[in-house]
């Protein structure tokens, strides 16, 4: 989240897309209700299904899954055509005035620079025009230059008329216009709108652009950086934000530093290829400027004395992956027989998919599989799942019982970036060990092997800092201290990442967490909250600065410099983020130098982290287009109404095709219905299959079927049905409902079927069912394809057939 949960109550309008907060985040949802109840905010929920969120929304719109770029695109067009954008903000705080290099273009669904053989873009064709005099990007603050971002954008989105939006999304023109009217009012300085989304936007081959389209709309309306505004991702697990921050993804190091690439030999090589570059004289480019400090301090934390100036701070110790190593790529490699073993910790590959049957095949190609989990999972049990001949599975599977989070202390980082320390509630049971103890013990054993037997390149193993009281059992408190980092010359904890250095005298385990654990103690433990709102929330804006700690630097709303005008006055004095009091910024922790006068001729532009210094309406940081464009899901019942020749994303990554495996995409003739997958409020991932009280609430796997379609097929609630895709099938119960229904898309009537994910062949329900859950894996249906930017699978839009059994 750019903002945080409690902040949602400040919104005048709440757009919810690709999310179901009432069910997925019931506790955080109180702030949506507060906005509605206390200030009369309107909630607009666009979703394929009428959910428990729609039930309390002011307006629910039945939208076709995966078409949100068209929805936001239509809103962008409405705002641009009717001059409803926040003029001063757009001119000064976005790159609307930047001029794009000649040669950029968009034609029939393709941006310039496309290579059809490689299925990639040369994004150099999307660069800014360089100003010959300054060397920075050319700007035209009148926004009239034909190649200004503003004019290019206006032209790009002019195609997204209400009629076109309706044809793509299935939302009737009149209903769309009602939303457009409400959204159009949010560009006024005294109005603010928030957009809330979750994996319903990310799980598409256009996922990155689906989110960007919302962010672009928010920048146009001047809503980024403001309390009650922002682009807010609801994270799917109590600590998934912490996971991401600490580099759960293959392409980043902790704190979103890029993973080094082959060929980089020095820190300078690395920084040149990774850090944002300043493209305006008034841009601070804080991230780019300090990139080497963050990297060197990280290397110092990892390799201690073995990292020094003479050896480029052991930069050569860090792996430099030559190819994509994202989630699907792992199983792709296993399918190709290129992997020996795999350790799964805290997730079950066989269920989380996509294409569970193929993933299970991949697990069967391994020599060994280690599953670290508190309870049996579909991965630990895949070798003897119903229908599997265990004697044919050669993979040796080790189950290492781990503790549940309730059995350990540590931090949870919520969607709003608040790192909140928690205590251990129960002692571990049986032989269960903490995940980090298993990894630490494993590391000590591997290190011993290197020391006794030698091996290729032992230096990174032998030099790794492991300064814990018990190296086999590090305390989470010790790790938290280490993540914060320290000044090696004084031995004191670092107080801010602004003080990190690239001379080897400072350390950090994750620079964005620097400041969370000081010499005075662990700030994540702070609990000065609503017991005394007057003392603990002095601004009255709900920042509660002494409740836990949020990154970066305990800032509660990111980009908050943009919450105030050029003079530093809040756009809306009733809802200030920060304000210039004549000598300093007051309010939230400023996302800006604390004493920089906004009217100083050398004052920085408001978005200090990127090279432009302003928000990007046009981005050359994405690999699938500088402007979000609607593409159909890889499996769709219709051709793209905007450009049928380039219907789906031309750069989506098609794993099977790239690996030479048979294409397994279904046609609308064989698989006429759209399906989307999701979770229910009664479930947490897969672990709740083992919790009897929750199993009672949703005891059997089911699919939600539109009433009209069910009537045609003679299906009643409780009937057994088979839902199949080109990849697999599920055989579960039907729940017939009018909460899903027909829609007209590209002149054609289509139905969407809802498939809750949760069940499989382990747990209370499977144990008590004659089928033992043989065909209960929802992800048996989903396609093995990835978004071009992040390789996120397309879980939310695919084609199926439906039969009564």
């Amino acid at each position: 989240m750019t903002n945080h949960w409690r902040d949602i109550r400040h919104a005048d309008l709440i757009l919810i897309n690709g999310a179901n907060p009432a069910e997925a985040h019931p506790v955080g949802f109180q702030w949506f209700m507060r906005a509605k109840l206390d200030r009369g905010a309107k909630l607009i929920h666009a979703d394929p299904r009428f959910t428990r969120t729609s039930a309390v929304a002011d307006m629910y719109l039945r939208i076709r899954t995966g078409s949100d770029v068209a929805y936001f695109g239509g809103l962008i067009n409405h705002v641009l055509q009717n001059n409803l954008f926040h003029d001063e903000y757009v001119r000064n705080y976005t790159n609307a005035s930047f001029v794009v290099k000649d040669g950029y273009g968009f034609n029939d669904g393709l941006f310039s620079g496309y290579d059809p053989d490689k299925r990639t873009y040369n994004i150099a064709t999307w660069a800014y025009e360089s100003n010959a005099r300054t060397g920075y990007a050319s700007r035209d603050l009148t926004l009239q230059h034909p190649r200004s971002v503003f004019q290019l954008m206006k032209a790009h989105y002019s195609r997204y008329t209400p009629e076109v939006v309706s044809s793509i999304t299935g939302i009737p023109v009149d209903d769309f216009k009602k939303v457009a009217d409400l959204v159009g009012q949010m560009g006024k300085p005294d109005k603010v709108m928030t957009i809330v989304y979750a994996v319903g936007l990310t799980h598409h081959t256009t996922g990155g652009q689906l989110i960007r389209s919302g962010a672009v709309l928010q920048l146009l309306l001047g809503n980024m950086g403001r309390p009650g505004g922002g682009m807010n991702a609801e994270r799917g697990h109590a600590n998934i934000q912490g996971n991401t921050d600490h580099a759960i993804s293959w392409e980043i190091l902790p704190g979103y530093l890029r993973i080094p690439a082959p060929g980089q030999k020095t820190i300078a090589d690395y920084v040149a290829a990774s850090a944002p570059k300043k493209s305006d004289p008034h841009s601070w480019n804080f991230f780019g400027t300090n990139y080497s400090k963050f990297m060197v301090s990280t290397l110092k934390a990892w390799y201690g004395d073995a990292a020094n100036k003479d050896n480029e701070f052991a930069f050569n110790f860090v792996p430099k992956p030559a190819q994509n190593s994202s989630w699907m790529s792992i199983y792709d490699q296993a399918l190709k027989g290129k992997m020996e073993g795999l350790i799964l910790s805290g997730m079950t590959a066989a269920s989380i998919g996509p294409d569970s049957n193929q993933v299970r095949q991949a697990l069967g190609n391994l020599k060994w599989l280690v599953v670290m989990d508190p309870l049996p999972t579909t991965s630990s049990e895949f070798w003897h799942a119903p229908g599997v001949d265990a004697s044919q599975v050669k993979t040796e599977v080790f189950m290492l019982p781990t503790t549940h989070w309730i059995e350990k202390d540590g931090s949870f980082v919520n969607s709003g970036r608040w790192s909140q320390w928690k205590d251990q509630v129960l002692p571990p049971e049986g032989q269960a060990r903490h995940d980090h103890w298993i990894l630490a013990d494993l590391f000590q054993r591997v290190k011993k092997l290197y020391q006794s037997q030698g091996g290729k390149f032992p230096d990174p193993i032998n030099s790794l800092t492991f300064a814990y009281k018990d190296p086999a059992k590090p305390e989470l408190d010790e790790i938290a201290r280490e993540i914060n980092g320290k000044d090696l010359s004084t031995g004191k904890q670092m107080t801010s990442f602004a003080n990190l250095k690239d001379d080897g005298t400072t350390t950090t385990g994750d620079w964005i967490y620097t400041g969370s654990y000081l010499d005075t103690g662990n700030l994540m433990k702070r609990r000065q909250g609503i017991q005394d709102p007057k003392a603990n929330d002095p601004t009255g804006m709900g920042f509660y600065p002494n409740w836990a700690w949020s990154w970066p630097l305990n800032r509660r709303v990111m980009y908050n410099r943009a919450s105030a005008d050029l003079d530093g006055k809040p756009w809306d004095p009733a809802r200030p983020g920060i304000a210039w009091d004549g000598s300093k910024w007051v309010g939230d922790v400023p996302d800006y130098p604390a004493t920089m006068n906004p009217r100083d001729p050398n004052a920085y532009l408001p978005f200090i982290m990127n090279g432009e210094g302003v928000g990007r309406l046009f981005s050359n940081g994405m690999v699938d287009g500088p402007f979000p464009e609607h593409y159909e899901p890889v499996e769709s019942p219709v051709a793209n109404p905007l450009h049928p020749n380039n219907s789906a994303s031309p750069v989506a990554f098609l794993y099977d095709k790239a690996a030479g495996r048979p294409n397994r995409f279904g046609t609308p003739q064989e698989f006429p219905y759209i399906a989307t997958s999701y979770r229910l409020t009664e479930h947490e991932h897969y672990v709740t299959q083992h919790v009897p009280h929750l199993v009672q609430l949703q005891p059997k796997p089911f699919v939600e079927i539109p009433y009209e379609l069910a009537s045609q097929k003679g299906i009643k609630s409780g009937d057994q049905v088979r839902v199949s895709s080109k990849r697999g099938k599920v055989e579960v119960l039907a729940l017939v409902t009018k909460r899903l229904g027909p829609m007209t898309v590209a002149g054609q009537k289509v139905y969407q079927i809802g498939i809750p994910i949760h069940w499989g062949y382990v747990g209370v329900s499977a144990d008590s069912d004659p089928s033992h859950g043989r065909y209960w894996l929802a992800n048996a249906l989903t396609p093995f394809v990835g978004d071009a930017n992040a390789r996120t699978p397309e879980f939310k839009a695919f084609l199926v057939n439906l039969e009564k059994m």
Binding site: V27, R52, A57, L61, I171, L680, P692, L697, L735, T737
Partner: protein, 266 residues
């Protein structure tokens, strides 16, 4: 909330307009009261797989789908109704009236409580409860229902369901405060044009008033609740009722005499 004190009246105000059907109340109740729950069964009734209140389910979220099959709908708590049902802790409690052993009492918090060591399992209360709240515990052979977390109240804690409710749809507190909060909430909804919103059991028209009362988004009948016309106990001091019965009896006697006389004449 102020400290919970014996001698004051407590209850629940369940505001269904902000219920999101998460069922946290059901689970929290079972966890605190150590109820196992029934064996899992798919009921094919919206998202409800609990079915009814009984000995194992002291909170039950009802799901009533009236969602129109159309492209755009105003939700606003009226199209898919969710209601966390519970024992109403009636002022005129049928269960108490019929209990032959005196097992059912009114506590120092003015809640209705079944004393497990006095209950003889006669089931009279189960038949008498107009809300089908009570069930037989098969293991103990006694009648069970919501205790309004009597044990927690004695320890100064609010009931588990109210504690767990993420949207404050379930509010616990002194009855007078809850009634006041409910009046304010109703006025707000009415001012927003949500005219179908109504309070149920807030005043004495329903079984003399309910300690666990509700804000509903539709008629009580929609939720399977008796409306005010029907929500009355058979009473021992019903003068109108007695007079009516007496008149009926006199008429019957006269009618009988007339009939005999006619038979004699023929």
């Amino acid at each position: 909330m102020a400290a919970i004190k014996a001698g004051e009246e407590y209850g629940f105000f369940t505001d269904t307009s902000i219920c999101i059907g998460c069922k946290a109340c059901e689970v929290a109740c079972k966890e605190w009261n150590q109820l196992q729950g029934d064996s899992p069964a798919f009921l094919a009734d919206s998202f409800d797989n609990t079915g009814s209140l009984d000995a194992q389910n002291w909170r039950h979220v009802k799901f009533i789908e009236h969602v129109p099959d159309q492209s755009a709908t105003a939700g606003n708590g009226t199209a898919w109704l969710m209601m966390s049902d519970v024992c109403k802790h009636c002022k005129h409690a049928s269960c108490m009236e019929v209990c032959p052993t005196g097992a059912i009492i009114r506590t120092e918090f003015n809640t209705v409580f079944i004393q497990q060591d006095v209950c003889n399992g006669c089931r009279n209360c189960i038949a008498a409860c107009p809300y089908s709240v009570i069930g037989m515990n098969q293991e103990t052979g006694t009648a069970h229902k919501c205790t309004l977390c009597y044990d927690r109240l004695q320890g100064g804690l609010e009931p588990a369901c109210a504690k767990a409710c993420p949207t404050q749809s379930i509010q616990f507190g002194p009855l007078a405060e809850l009634q006041q909060a409910a009046d304010v909430r109703l006025a707000t909804l009415h001012s927003q044009g949500v005219t179908q919103a109504q309070l149920y059991g807030r005043d004495d028209k329903v079984y003399g008033g309910l300690n666990a009362f509700f804000l509903l988004m539709d008629k009580p009948e929609t939720y399977g609740l008796p409306n005010a016309d029907n929500a009355k106990l058979p009473s021992r001091n019903d003068l109108g009722g007695y007079l009516g019965a007496a008149v009926t009896a006199v008429l019957a006697v006269i009618g009988g005499l007339v009939a005999f006389r006619r038979r004699g004449m023929s």
